[in-house]
């Protein structure tokens, strides 16, 4: 299969049953996305495929053939943190950090779906991702921070 991951073309032979999360973590050594449940409930494995948030634990690697995958490792641009990463840092949106890559990838896509969300919309839009440490309140703030920052005019 061929797949573009974080802007890099990869050509790999995979067993048809290989899950995307295992392909990313074990074949490509991209260990940012985590496995918390393997049943599509926790969202720790969330990555972005062709412009959609996908739980990579229940997605076969071959389903991405020819596609574009973005993982947390590809979120920062040339060492500059993405607004959602900055938001999580500034607003204390993480504790153990295990859910964080999935949260960031969901927040990244969610803010493209809804650039100016209310708190309630954030809570619903992020509800597919579980966190056991933070109680979500600061993650909501982190997403609000990112939303604001993404709407600032870009300096020339």
């Amino acid at each position: 299969m061929t797949v573009n991951v974080n802007g890099k073309a990869e050509e790999k032979a995979v067993e048809p049953r290989t899950l995307l999360i295992h392909f990313l973590r074990e074949e490509l050594n991209l260990t940012g996305a985590h496995i918390g449940c393997e049943t599509s409930h926790c969202g720790a494995c969330t990555v972005d495929i062709d412009g959609q948030s996908v739980k990579s634990c229940t997605h076969l690697a071959v389903q991405c053939d020819g596609g574009e995958v973005l993982t947390v490792e590809g979120l920062a641009n040339k060492g500059v943190l993405h607004a959602v990463q900055e938001g999580f840092y500034k607003e204390h949106g993480l504790q153990c950090g295990f859910c964080t890559p999935g949260m960031l990838m969901r927040a990244y896509r969610f803010l493209q779906e809804n650039p100016n969300p209310s708190e309630e919309e954030i809570r619903h839009g992020m509800a597919g991702n579980l966190c056991r440490c933070t109680g979500y309140q600061n993650i909501v703030k982190a997403v609000q921070y990112a939303a604001k920052k993404l709407q600032e005019p870009v300096a020339a």
């Binding site: 918390g36 295990f98 964080t100 809570r123 109680g135």
Partner: protein, 803 residues
């Protein structure tokens, strides 16, 4: 022109020391996908282990057939208890003085118990091999109810203990009995009841729950047969203890065992114990001479690792007619599952449950806890709490509510009346705890004012009077005292090792610092907080202080992170180590300034000559001097180690208030308001404290409002995925309001008490208090958790309240 010397205040700000909401140092790697969790670790030649587990809860193993599994290409070994027997590794000691099967030895005791392991080239092949191992069982009667387990004709669950009348904690009265442990003064308590004007009693069940950190348990074990060295990366809250146990079990000298806890994806007590999977991966690595990785899946995690609670409690309170409590009696039957595998200080088999007199001045009290074996996974772990304080607080808070209801008193009023008063501290409870400090009245007033309590009660009265009100309104109020900082080695040890903790600080010539700790963070932000303590103690900016922990080959011995002990114990060790360095630095500064050390004042980051502000040496200058040219006769260098054995526990406290609206049609509950005031003494990093409180409250919400571990009559756990087991999402989780007072601990070097578990301990009874309060006018005094919509709807129906 010289830049003006910043004043002391500006310099203090620059340190980002204690009291600063310093952003977390650890976040950089987590937000860029560069965390290093156990499952991220790869080693050359690494194999994968998977576990064959029992589908039944109780039965004899008739036969295990490995042939089909071994025939699968890529499978290296299939091991059972019989293979571990020659190594004497088929049973292991538990942290509670019991033994547990590593792999089921002739018999299985609970569903999902470990029966065999397979080791293969990758996790897919290993999973195939697990399916191919054929195990034949002969089923035995299943015992799930701890009361039934104590019936004379109940089946013998632990045949390995047959005939043993002495357990690790005294006499065994029955073949399924583990221990009976009691505390307090029984005859004084009985006398209080004999003379009481008012008595109330209540039975309650604190259900079995699972801590469920987002990262499951796992390890990567690597044995080097040439050097005889074992390295294991492991999801552990207590790596040093694991090393000691592994060494004792394997016979490998402790100095050749290296245990590393890398980044840990949440612990909550689930990662304190030593699980068969860890031991098996280590054995597999020794047998095969290659690194072996084992990471459990979520179903395995929920079904087989460290449950919590499952306390069946009977509480009784004696009081005067005007509401002064005169006596407390408690009887508990504790379901510990198949093996007594909880981590508790050796001398307290029921943990610190006897803190159950709470925040109240109760003259006479007695508690007794009976531990019982059943066919459930080994349980009784301290989940986000210090050894059973969660159960204790739940009990006493429920009982005080029951008493208030009986007397027609307000919940706030009865608490105020019975609180230990500020001037009574240090206060010795009827169970012998010496509470260090507290100011409960001030805290309660602050909360009641903040929420306008009288207005809430008036609103509730109006709703109760209105037969058409679509909701029932309930107000929960809990005033709790935690006991953390385990603990003083005179009373607290695990496997005989005292529960001190440790810190080693090295100041480098250029004035940066490295601190190594006996604890290990699982999200608490140690790297940030610990550095802040050093910054304040030594006047070095937090930014240049590196904190390391979790690697037994570099960190000093410590008992790990659980029971909110990091700040009370390790935090104290840091301060004490820093003070040793400070004392030496003072001598060096005095030498440099050619004055007597008594003529120096310390100010933020420097020693100043008394009365002359222009003469000073900063800590950075002193550090250079310590390596460059120490005073004559003084050993060069600037470092110190401190092992801190606390003189006492610390007793943080809090007052929580919750308002619920219950839909009379559906039984669904809306948490309208949750106000949490915590007092953890000195606050090191307010931002991190608040984060810990949000997290603890959310876990408390889950326990009270939805978590359930339902078993059918055969002992099948019916909810072991995240589909069935309730972990709240963004949507259900309430909004939290936090507040604080500050009452430092008088015996802690910096006055800090520990906070992370308070919100869990305090919130759970608050939710129940609010739920029961909604029904209180109908005569309800208690209802068991979880308060999910179906169960609440049934209550509405029973009380004729459903619309």
């Amino acid at each position: 022109m010289n830049a003006p010397v910043p004043n002391a205040e500006a310099r203090e700000l620059a340190l980002a020391g204690m009291g600063a909401s310093r952003l977390r140092k650890e976040d950089a790697r987590f937000i860029q996908g560069k965390g290093n969790y156990v499952d991220d670790i790869k080693m050359a030649g690494m194999l994968h282990m998977d576990i064959v587990r029992s589908p039944i809860a109780h039965g004899r193993i008739v036969k295990i057939n490995k042939e089909a599994a071994l025939a699968i290409p890529g499978v290296h070994a299939v091991l059972t208890a019989d293979d571990l027997k020659p190594l004497k590794l088929h049973w292991m000691p538990t942290l509670a003085g019991d033994v547990a099967a590593v792999l089921a030895d002739q018999k299985v005791h609970f569903q999902m118990q470990e029966v065999a392991i397979v080791i293969a080239d990758d996790r897919y092949i290993a999973a195939d091999a697990v399916e191919a191992v054929e195990v034949e069982y002969e089923e035995l009667p299943v015992v799930l109810d701890p009361y039934a387990a104590l019936a004379p004709d109940a089946p013998v669950l632990r045949e390995d203990l047959a005939g043993k009348t002495e357990g690790a904690h005294g006499k065994r009265e029955h073949h399924n009995h583990i221990f009976t442990w009691d505390a307090g003064d029984k005859s004084a308590a009985d006398a209080a009841f004999d003379n009481a004007e008012v008595k109330v009693s209540q039975h309650m069940h604190y259900p079995r729950v699972h801590p469920c950190p987002l990262e499951t348990c796992g390890c990567v074990a690597s044995f080097d047969p040439i050097k005889g060295e074992l390295t294991t990366f492991i999801t552990s809250q207590a790596p040093h203890v694991v090393r000691t146990v592994v060494s004792m079990l394997s016979g490998i000298p402790e100095s050749k065992v290296r245990i590393v806890s890398p980044d840990i994806g949440g612990g909550f007590g689930n990662k304190v114990g030593i699980y068969p999977g860890y031991v098996c991966a280590i054995v597999a690595s020794i047998v095969l001479g290659r690194p072996v990785k084992w990471v459990e899946d979520r179903i395995e995690n929920i079904s087989s690792t460290a449950f919590a609670r499952d306390y069946h409690m009977d509480g009784e309170i004696a009081a005067t007619a005007d509401g002064k409590i005169t006596g407390l009696r408690v009887n508990v039957v504790a379901d510990h599952g198949a093996f007594d595998a909880c981590a508790d200080p050796t001398k307290f088999p029921a943990g610190l449950f006897h803190i159950c007199s709470g925040s109240y001045d109760i003259p006479a009290a007695y508690a007794s806890v009976k531990g019982v074996y059943t066919n459930k996974a080994p349980g009784g772990v301290a989940y986000r709490c210090s050894f059973r304080v969660t159960e204790a607080v739940y009990l006493v808070e429920r009982m005080v509510d029951v008493l208030a209801q009986k007397l027609g008193m307000d919940k706030a009023e009865i608490r105020e009346k019975n609180f230990i008063k500020k001037e009574q501290f240090p206060y010795t409870s009827a169970f012998g705890f010496e509470y260090d400090s507290g100011d409960y009245h001030t805290a309660l007033k602050k909360v009641l004012d903040a929420v306008d309590y009288p207005a809430l009660r008036a609103e509730q009265a109006a709703k109760r009077a209105d037969p058409n009100s679509p909701t029932l309104m309930g107000i929960g109020l809990v005033t709790f005292t935690e006991v953390v900082g385990a603990g003083p080695s005179k009373i607290c040890d695990i496997l005989g090792v005292g529960m001190f903790d440790s810190c080693e600080i090295r100041i480098h010539p250029t004035g940066s610092a490295l601190a190594r700790m006996g604890t290990i963070t699982q999200g608490q932000g140690h790297q940030t907080t610990y550095a802040q303590i050093i910054a304040t103690e030594l006047g070095i900016p937090s930014e240049v202080i590196q904190v390391e922990e979790g690697d037994t080959s570099t960190a000093p011995y410590g008992l790990g992170t659980y029971g909110s002990r990091s700040t009370p114990v390790a935090g104290a060790a840091i301060a004490m180590a820093a003070r040793k360095i400070h004392a030496k630095a003072r001598k060096i500064a005095a030498h440099m300034l050619e004055v007597n050390e008594n003529d120096l004042d310390w100010e933020v980051d420097r020693f100043k000559v008394k009365g002359d502000d222009s003469k000073f040496k900063t800590m950075t200058e002193v550090a250079w001097q310590a390596y460059h040219q120490a005073p004559p006769g003084m050993e060069p260098g600037l470092e110190a180690v401190h092992y801190y054995d606390p003189p006492n526990f610390t007793f943080p406290f809090g007052i929580y208030l919750c308002v619920v609206d219950i839909d009379r049609g559906t039984g669904e509950t809306k948490i309208r308001r949750f106000y949490a005031l915590d007092d953890c003494g000195t606050r090191i990093n307010p931002m991190i404290i608040e984060g810990q409180i949000h997290g603890g409250l959310t876990e408390g919400f889950a326990v009270a409002m939805g978590q359930q571990m339902p078993f059918d009559a055969q002992g099948n756990l019916l909810g072991n995925t995240l589909m069935d087991y309730f972990l709240p999402t963004f949507v259900e989780t309430p909004h939290w309001e936090t507040d604080h007072t500050v009452t430092p601990s008088p015996h802690h070097p910096i006055g800090a008490k520990g906070v992370a578990e308070s919100p869990h301990v305090g919130s759970i009874p608050t939710f129940t208090s609010a739920m029961v309060d909604a029904f209180a006018h109908l005569g309800m005094t208690h209802m068991d958790m979880p308060h999910n919509a179906f169960r609440v709807w049934k209550q509405l129906k029973a009380h004729g309240m459903n619309l």
